[in-house]
């Protein structure tokens, strides 16, 4: 959202200046950039194929050839952590954005326009009631082959996984945002804006959205963690990426059986997930403070 603002605009610069003053946000942002580099640039520096099986090295500990050791088949853990991060971060961020978009849209619409509140909230009830697993099976039955031929197997699965996670996790955001909108829209400044005849879209953009940012930011941080973990559950059920395709959640799941013997194997993916989520959380905190209209200019 920071990037979206034109560089020259005073509002964008204002937000950026305030974001920079927030120590936690800077630290979180810095770490997140590091994670992005690790997963995006890392594979170019550490060129071991994450799927290559070096059977002699299986279950080996840290060594020059395998800095983080190798798994039960002898695949390099460092390479798998990088490749896995690529998938997990991409899925986490994309699914979170999708779920945030749907959730905020529905929440704002339902809260702001009374006539559409009922139908939208009943739709939310329906989605809350749908059991995830059969839904996934149906989605895969209907769309997997179409997507596979349209965009290739791995991109197809990516679109599917992001779509499914996004489409089944927006309800909480929608309910919370709606509740906040209901409160905010009765506040004096909104009533004032309305009384001077401001169009609805401007009221929503200028007055409502900035004031319901807090729950959206919290949803975003929780959403990333949720997406990364849901993805691991999906691929174990045979509904996500192919089995030799590493993701953080997957690495953690596969290593759980080896918890006592090779604790480092659960440590790295577990740490990666937690720290990424933590960094997003701090960034979110900073971003919310920076965008908060009530504290701006103080």
């Amino acid at each position: 959202m920071i990037e979206a603002a034109p560089p020259g605009s005073s509002r964008g610069r204002d937000v950026w200046l305030r974001f920079r003053r927030h120590k936690g946000a800077l630290l979180g942002g810095g770490f997140f950039v590091f994670v992005l580099c690790f997963v995006a640039v890392g594979p170019a520096l550490w060129t071991v194929d994450p799927q290559f099986i070096d059977i002699q090295a299986r279950n080996s500990g840290m060594s020059a050839a395998h800095p983080l050791g190798a798994d039960q088949l002898g695949r390099d853990m460092l390479a798998r952590l990088m490749a896995g991060g690529r998938a997990s971060v991409a899925v986490g961020v994309a699914a979170m954005l999708l779920s945030l978009l749907i959730g905020s849209l529905i929440g704002v619409l339902a809260g702001f326009f009374r006539w559409i509140d009922g139908p939208l909230m009943r739709l939310t009830d329906l989605f809350l009631a749908l059991p995830l697993l059969p839904l996934l099976l149906v989605v895969i039955l209907l769309f997997r082959d179409t997507l596979r031929t349209a965009v290739g197997p791995e991109t197809g699965v990516f679109v599917l996984v992001v779509g499914v996670i996004g489409a089944t996790s927006w309800m909480q955001t929608a309910r919370v945002v709606r509740g906040e909108v209901l409160t905010v829209k009765e506040r004096e400044f909104v009533l004032a804006a309305r009384s001077i005849g401001a169009p609805a879209h401007r009221i929503v953009r200028r007055h409502i959205l900035p004031n319901v940012l807090s729950p959206i930011v919290v949803s975003a941080t929780l959403g990333i963690a949720n997406a990364i973990i849901t993805e691991s559950a999906l691929s174990f059920l045979g509904l996500g990426f192919p089995s030799d395709f590493a993701t953080w959640g997957r690495l953690l799941f596969d290593a759980t059986d080896y918890l006592q013997r090779y604790p480092s194997r659960v440590l790295w993916p577990g740490l990666a997930i937690s720290l990424t989520v933590l960094s997003v959380n701090y960034m979110g905190d900073g971003l919310r403070d920076a965008l908060d209209p009530r504290t701006r200019g103080r």
């Binding site: 099986i53 039955l141 192919p242």
Partner: protein, 565 residues
């Protein structure tokens, strides 16, 4: 903790049976954990292993298989054979005689009428009996007197031990199930949850998909057994948790079917609380090769015999794929003591197991490359072999589980070494093994090039199993995609051997025929056997008498289990 338990057990034993059987129930409580929880205790309404094995503590058949796969009389006085006159000379009639003095756990006598009723119960067309195949070709089941039953088949049966044999076909009590026949079968919840049986235990509480509480059957035929007064049969969780409860925390005495990575299991055993046991039946993990074209462009003719596979129909390719696999390593990584590399689809019993295919055990990458070169498959610019514009690119599917994922990754790498590209796919087991004709992902539809799963045959006779691969038995749209011939194999010579086996009664000749058919299947590489899989279970060190049995219920001899002090 031990002392009060013992006292209660003694008191319980005295209460139920009086002085004459003071030994029963002397060892107190037994805890068994199955990571799949039993749903029902009527084997005729559920074919699931968990349900059948749980029911085997209560319900018993006329004869069953021991841990070596031999038929032993159980409720019957002896096993009928042609030699002892129990099986007629034309192989069409079998006469079973019950032991004398058998009682149901409610005190009523077991009679031939119960056996006859059991057949009627299963054969009722509206009942949806899971064990119907055990009664194939049965035309009549009649009681000739209180203890004698005659089973008549429509055709000569060289192997007549289907009905009433093994844990899948036990005897039900007529008095309890008389009103539960046919469409009414599912309504008898009480009977299905607490069947009256002849076995060493009877149910006191049944919580479906959770836990069963049992107590010693006061009218069990051996007054000194069972040694345990009560049993808790817990279900649910996963294999690792079940193993932990026996091997590491000692909360339970016996854990079933621990399909875990061998090093994980060994670490747990090192805690010293329990022992891992394994035993081999006929289960073989195999690759099935699609001999027909699964291309989506073919529409209704996809994966049918109308279109042979573009490259897997070439025997050289199939053989090369098999040669590239290191079966010893697969066993080492996936199964440890619970697996053996194999080149046969019929790995046991010993007389049926062929020894003519052992050359597959040694991995031979160079040989595989040479074979492909000779057959005209040359590496293309991307390293993948091709011929006439056809690339050796394989879609390899299986049902999702941890060991199979490792196998997939290994096999993919080996095939890439010989210039074959592989895409992996995992499918949820409830879809893969389901028969939904609307789903493209069932193992029967086989919309992939190679798939991997395990299969076995029941009891000790491979004839029906080998009969699966006959011409015309392949799944296809006309058969609603039902049929056991998943590779779509068809060979007239094979069918001829099958025809001969159906008419042969002599065990030696039958074995020779079975070996010949097995050799045809694996030398044609329609099936690529990988691992002969055993059953692995674990018991507490203090539990004695466990004889792991893969031919029948695993806990078939629970009456003999005891506490070692």
């Amino acid at each position: 903790m031990k002392q009060p338990c013992l006292t209660i057990a003694m008191a319980g034993a005295l209460l139920v049976s009086g002085a004459a059987t003071a030994e029963r129930g002397r060892d107190g409580h037994l805890g068994v954990i199955y990571w799949q929880a039993p749903s029902i205790l009527n084997p005729y309404l559920s074919g699931g292993t968990k349900d059948i094995e749980a029911a085997s503590m209560v319900l018993e058949p006329l004869a069953r298989f021991d841990e070596a796969g031999n038929l032993v009389p159980w409720l019957a006085a002896s096993t009928p054979t042609v030699a002892n006159g129990g099986v007629s000379a034309d192989l069409k009639t079998v006469t079973w005689t019950l032991r004398e003095g058998l009682l149901w756990s409610d005190g009523s006598p077991v009679t031939a009428a119960d056996v006859v009723f059991t057949a009627e119960y299963c054969l009722d067309p509206a009942g949806g009996c899971s064990q119907l195949a055990k009664f194939d070709d049965v035309t009549a089941v009649e009681a000739t007197d209180d203890l004698t039953v005659e089973v008549t088949f429509g055709i000569p049966k060289p192997y007549p031990y289907g009905p009433f044999v093994g844990a899948t076909s036990p005897i039900l009590q007529k008095a309890q199930f008389a009103d539960c026949v046919g469409a009414k079968a599912p309504e008898c919840t009480e009977a299905n949850f607490k069947p009256v049986g002849t076995g060493p235990f009877r149910v006191t509480e049944f919580r479906p998909n959770d836990v069963i509480s049992l107590e010693a059957n006061p009218r069990y035929r051996d007054p000194a057994k069972p040694a345990f007064a009560t049993v808790t049969f817990k279900g649910g969780g996963d294999a690792a948790a079940a193993a932990r409860a026996v091997l590491e925390t000692g909360e339970f005495d016996y854990a079933w079917n621990l399909q875990l990575a061998p090093d994980v299991l060994e670490d747990m055993q090192a805690a010293g609380k329990g022992a891992v046991v394994s035993s081999f039946g006929t289960l073989v993990e195999r690759l099935v090769v699609n001999l027909t074209d699964p291309s989506p462009d073919l529409g209704d003719a996809r994966s049918t015999r109308a279109h042979p596979h573009p490259f897997l129909s070439d025997p050289a390719v199939r053989k090369a794929l098999s040669m590239a696999i290191d079966r010893n390593l697969l066993v080492e990584i996936g199964y440890g003591r619970a697996g053996r590399p194999t080149c046969n689809v019929v790995p046991a019993p010993a007389i049926y197991a062929s020894d003519a295919n052992e050359d597959c055990l040694a991995r031979d990458i160079d040989g595989a490359k040479r074979l492909l070169d000779e057959a005209g498959w040359r590496p293309g610019p991307d390293g993948i072999r091709q011929k006439d514009g056809i690339r050796l690119s394989i879609l390899y599917q299986t049902s999702a589980n941890a060991v199979r994922q490792d196998f997939q990754a290994l096999v993919k790498q080996w095939w890439s070494e010989i210039g074959v590209e592989t895409e992996l796919r995992n499918i949820d087991a409830s879809v893969f093994f389901g028969g939904d004709p609307g789903s493209p992902d069932t193992y029967q539809k086989f919309f992939a090039d190679i798939q991997m799963y395990a299969n076995n045959f029941e009891g000790a006779d491979p004839e029906p199993y080998l009969g699966g691969w006959r011409c015309g038995n392949e799944p296809r749209p006309a058969s609603q995609w039902q049929g056991e011939n998943v590779p779509r194999y068809c060979d007239e010579d094979y069918d001829r051997l099958l025809g001969r086996m159906a008419k042969t009664g002599d065990l030696g000749e039958r074995a020779a025929l079975a070996r010949a058919m097995n050799d045809m299947l694996v030398r044609d590489h329609a099936l690529i056997p990988l691992v002969h899989r055993g059953r692995v279970s674990a018991h507490a060190r203090s539990l004695g008498g466990v004889l792991l049995n893969t031919w029948d219920s695993e806990i078939w001899n629970i009456a003999d289990w005891r506490r070692i002090r």
